[in-house]
Amino acid sequence: MKTLTDVLSQVEQYAAAELRPRAGRFEAQEAIPREVLQGLAKHGIFGATLPTIYGGLALDPIQYGQLTEMVGKACNSVRELLTVHVSLVGESILRWGTGEQKQYWLPKMATGEVLAAFALTEPEVGSDANGIDSSYRQEGDHFILNGRKKWISFGDLADLYLVLASRGDEMTAFLVDSTMTGVSTTKMSNLLASNASHLAEIHFQDVEVPLGNVLGRVGGGFAYVVNSALDHGRYSIAWAGVAIAQEALDGMVTYGRTRRQGGRVIGAYAEVQQMIAEASVNIHASRALCIAAGQKRRDKHPDAVIETTMAKYFTSKMAMKVATDAVQVFGGNGFSREYPVERLFREAKALEIIEGTSQVLQPVIAQHALRTCYQQGWWRA
């Protein structure tokens, strides 16, 4: 039997051989080739956190974080697939699915036979997720789904969508097969980054969804499914920030030790070392935040959600800063597609936008501090 260490080390080798050298090409071709997805499936990563009874690897949150960092360092779009397939959809079915839904979908998801995407955002509704326009109504033994989703990672490739739609004030989550009549997609192209992430608009026109495809309760879409899915998504994005930043630091150091100017390698200059030092400390701090959040998630601690939010907030900003400095260290070459830092710089930006923008997360973090750091006795005005 393969141990977890075996799995992780095989994924690392696969990432080094098949993902890192090709990530730029995937972006240019705006697709991850099928055979790469099959290669990843062989290592079991599509069932990373799913229990072994469903064919998953049963990784705990910290191990899953390590896997996310490993994959994300090599290719951000493959990491994005893990985020939507495992964290957003897999975890949601595991948490809210009926026995039948779990039996049906999870084994197929674990092998990668079914790839899943999370469809919440719409052309007119992003941060204010509670206000989505996609609608459903009940007719006999099924719901009729109508609406348009946008910015759906792997929407162009996925076989299964977790779709959020509303009926008046209530929101419900549906499991929608991409082959259902009335479902169509339009691939999104020419994006700043994540071009290989198969982003798409998804159109639902009078799609007949059986009652048995509701995930969780009718009306429980926002309070439970969306909130818990985004919590898992944020945890994944927090590690994605560590991944991009670590890759950028590896690049800075390697380039800094080999590029010569003024008779010395540029890594010998204090100003370059300052950027390397800052990046190094920030990455360590970020990883520590992610591990702390991971431990709380593993222990189902009540602060897991807020610590995950903080980790996502911090590491996404940190990744942007480190990737910006990496471009600086590469100088003109930082502008060239021949070096991967410009891609890391573009990819980092998305992390500050997805799974709750930094601005949307800020008040949540502030409110937590305002509640927990208030000292009755001292410091009063």
């Binding site: 909130n227 189902k300 009540p302």
Partner: protein, 87 residues
Amino acid sequence: MSTHEKIRHYIESNLVTFDASEAPFTDDDNIFEKGFLNSMFAMQMLTYIETEFNLTVDNDDLELINFSTVNNIVGLIEKKQRGRSSA
């Protein structure tokens, strides 16, 4: 602490307000309608209940009404605990 005290304490420690005395709520007030809790609270409350009282809340019990007042939450926990001890 009794179940009732634990639940009140947990809600009070999660109120989004500058002064708890500004946010009085009775055991029968709908805590979500009062607007003192952020949108992630329902899910956090669920995790808290499952962990603190070592029980599983099924989809059938996930109606927001079960979580909307202190008395309803305590009622749900006690129902689950009774179900467990009679199982």
